[in-house]
Symmetry: C2
Subunit: 337 residues, 2 copies
DNA sequence: TTGAAAGCGCTAACAA
DNA sequence: TTGTTAGCGCTTTCAA
């Protein structure tokens, strides 16, 4: 007995179509999933009947025999972090266009959950796109050896990846601040295990060095708006007139705190964020930030992954680097004299 | 030949465990998925060996025979709408706690996509939670008859649902504005086919009527920050000193435009939003808004759905109503004289 | 180009 | 309590 009150209509299978058309089930299967290997007329007939009976292929049966699921997992550390908006949209569109199912997974900032989920899901997905992985280099490479994987915002040897050209972006931000007369620039550091954080810091050091300026870093601060208070307080305690924050979330948190403490932005301190996430254009003051084509990154990652899944050629292990650019808004201004 | 270079380790199946323990495959199956119906010692042995071989059950094979997938779909009209953050978190946690997989689906504001996706997914999910459905009453009820379904933020007869008590919340907002001396309050309407929009409008009318005040509505405006400009311009054109916007997205868009046009908030116009979404506390000025326990709504929805899936009793077709409350921030103030 | 038949990994009768 | 057996719906050899 079915314990739900839902109408469980008898599902249409290829056998029903086989019966209705007089062809064998195997022919129906071929006609539906491998149209090239069947007589055109036969295929048309079968497809027509399939539609008529509103046949829906059983993905489980298909996956069981073929191993393919037409599903790609997209792992992000926190679905509700606006930074991922663009990535989610990009992967979503590109996957849908290719007829794939988008399985969005929230790894809750845990590297362990990443690999655990992925191995549990192994048979349910054809591949995965991993954003901002918290995994160690070694573990990530191991994972990539077990299933088709593309990393976003993380570069590891042996793993295909799409990264944003933070170095050039951070350099732009530094030039911008320097051109405004700032001489003491501080980097508000994000989580220590963040690859992007290290990349940003290093390029800031390099950019400042080119101008003969020293830079310091404060933190690390957990990536989140909450950390903004501590970050702002720490910053006020220095002689710096400008800072570049690991990301917009942190920067916005700082703006709130600076306002609370009566420190004028940009009159006393200039703040630059990273990511141009949702909210950067309506916080107060609006945030100068480093924008990256994250939606495009999602699309590129999907393309790379699908190429990998479809091509007979071995993966090329390449990585794509996408350009970033600075968006100047109200939170930066001339250095106070 | 495998065309990927990934190591396809031979997957461990229950047959391997059967062989290793000497039990029949069916016993292994029972021990693993129905522990009560097997000798304790047997179970222990089997579980131990399963772990040793790092066995992972094949979800497709399981779904194929049993029809159960331990997966629940959560449909939202737009994953990147901050309003859903709490809902996503709530459902995520509750589902994970119950050992279910969370399949997050973006329906891109299309009712058609909702039902289409759901019927395609029918065999891949045990049930669904549908937020803010765009479907007609009839279609939603039909869908609910076909699979276990809980609607959030939408009330339809014959469909279990979790809704937020907007009426009481909007009344609070109205009282707040009236107590500040506002006499001309306008409702900035959201999409016409939105159930919540109608509910909010009706309760505002009722609340105002209790004070003998008339209210007008402007719009409808598409729910999005972009619509804020048109909404703000329309509002300025009236004699209203206060407005309640369909949601925070719209309200924040309005704030931006009002600032552009040099209209003081709250000095000249007070603005109230709905939802207390991400950003409402850092926009400028910070937004007075109606907060709803949306995360709790997600948890409750999952509980209702799981009860439905597990219990032998027929669904009770009940609906839960969660309280809302007003959060007063900077965007509301005394009416100008 | 098409059909027959085997079997993917698991669950669920039924029997013992 | 456990084993035997028969599929779930599909894909994929292998033959015709």
């Amino acid at each position: 007995m079915d314990n739900r009150d839902n109408v469980q209509r008898p599902r249409v299978t290829i056998n029903d179509i086989a019966e209705a058309t007089g062809f064998a089930a195997s022919t129906v299967s071929r006609a539906l999933s491998r149209p090239g290997r069947v007589n055109a007329a036969t295929r048309e007939r079968i497809v027509a009947v399939a539609r008529e009976l509103s046949y829906v292929p059983n993905t489980h049966a298909r996956a069981l025999t073929s191993g393919r699921t037409e599903t790609v997992a997209v792992l992000v550390s926190d679905v509700t972090n606006p930074f991922y908006f663009g990535l989610i949209r990009g992967t979503q569109h590109q996957l849908k266009a290719a007829g794939y199912t988008h399985l969005l997974i929230d790894t809750e900032n845990s590297g362990e959950l990443e690999s655990h989920t992925l191995s549990k899901m192994r048979q349910s997905i054809d591949g995965a796109i991993m954003a901002t992985s918290r995994l160690s280099r070694r573990l990530l490479a191991e994972l990539a050896a077990e299933l088709p994987l593309v990393a976003v915002n993380r570069m590891v040897r042996g793993v295909e990846s799409v990264v944003l050209d933070s170095p050039s972006g951070v350099a732009q931000a530094a030039e911008h601040l320097i051109s405004l007369g700032h001489r003491e620039i501080v980097y508000m550091s994000g989580p220590q295990n963040s690859w992007a954080n290290e990349a940003r810091w290093r390029s800031l050091v390099a950019a400042a060095a080119r101008h003969g300026l020293p830079v310091h870093r404060l933190g690390p601060f957990p990536a989140g708006r909450m950390s903004g208070s501590a970050a702002a307080d720490a910053l006020i305690n220095t002689r710096a007139t400008a800072c570049i924050a690991f990301n917009d979330l942190l920067a916005i948190g700082m703006l709130t705190r600076l306002r609370e403490r009566g420190v004028g932005v940009p009159d006393e301190i200039s703040v630059v964020g990273c990511d141009d996430m949702f909210g950067a254009d309506f916080c107060y003051p609006t945030l100068t930030t480093l924008a990256a084509p994250i939606e495009q990154a999602g699309r590129v990652a999907v393309s790379m992954l699908l190429a990998r899944l479809h091509d007979s050629a071995p993966a090329t292990r390449q990585s794509a680097v996408l350009p970033t650019h600075l968006i100047v808004r109200e939170s930066t201004g001339p250095a106070p004299r």
